[in-house]
């Protein structure tokens, strides 16, 4: 089974801090995604990557950036955390063309105070 590991389950950060959320997968999947999940809004796509050093904006990229220096690792960066970025963040991976093969991590619950 594919394992998608998010480095932290819970994080508390201060407003203005630079925050790194890490996601690592062990099955050589090309595609990696970052979603945020908020009550009543479902999952919304922040950024995604189809390959190393490639990134594309999702639906809500403002206030975020990403880094994919290695195929197995996809990092989400909050340049200057704000309270409205308090949320659950979910990483997902899939192989190219395997639309049913999305695998999600367990999520990182970030609180910005």
């Amino acid at each position: 089974d594919v394992k998608v590991t998010q480095s932290s389950r819970y994080l508390v950060k201060r407003t203005g801090e630079k925050v790194f959320l890490e996601c690592v997968q062990d099955m050589d999947h090309e595609n990696m995604f970052w979603y945020r999940q908020d009550p009543g809004l479902g999952l919304r796509l922040i950024y995604f990557s189809y390959d190393v050093k490639m990134k594309e904006k999702g639906d809500i990229p403002e206030g975020y950036s990403v880094s994919r220096e290695k195929k197995e690792r996809f990092s989400l960066i909050l340049e200057s955390a704000s309270t409205n970025q308090t949320s659950m963040y979910l990483c997902a991976t899939t192989m190219v063309g395997r639309r049913r093969g999305y695998t999600f991590g367990s999520g990182t619950r970030l609180t910005v105070v």
């Binding site: 809004l41 479902g42 999952l43 796509l45 997902a92």
Partner: protein, 111 residues
């Protein structure tokens, strides 16, 4: 833009009853739909999928129905069990490989 939504944010059923969770989508170009189950503290997990050239697909205790005329998707769970309590999301994919999710329905199964 494309969007996928659910009719009810919460659904409460008795153990042993059948559950029906509904979803409406707006992108007529979507050609693939997936239902996910998310238990507390976990990421979404695949339940069942359906392509747009199908009307119905059955799995173990679950059935997905697709009505393209009214852009409606439903998930039926037979003989609902306490372990089915979770948040259920529908999602769609069109020409890209990006999933677009609905807002979710929280299913509570009462013993």
């Amino acid at each position: 833009g494309e969007s996928v939504g659910l009719h009810l944010p919460t659904l409460s059923v008795q153990e042993g009853d059948n559950s029906i969770i509904n979803c409406a989508y707006s992108n007529s170009a979507s050609d693939y739909f997936i239902w996910y189950k998310q238990e507390s503290g976990k990421g979404p997990q695949f339940i069942i999928d359906i392509r747009s050239n199908m009307d119905k697909r059955q799995g173990q205790r679950v059935t997905v129905l697709l009505n393209k005329t009214v852009k409606h998707l439903s998930l039926q769970i037979a003989a609902t069990q306490p372990g089915d309590s979770a948040v259920y999301f529908c999602a769609e994919i069109g020409g890209s490989e990006k999933l677009v999710f609905g807002k979710g329905t929280k299913l509570t199964v009462n013993p």
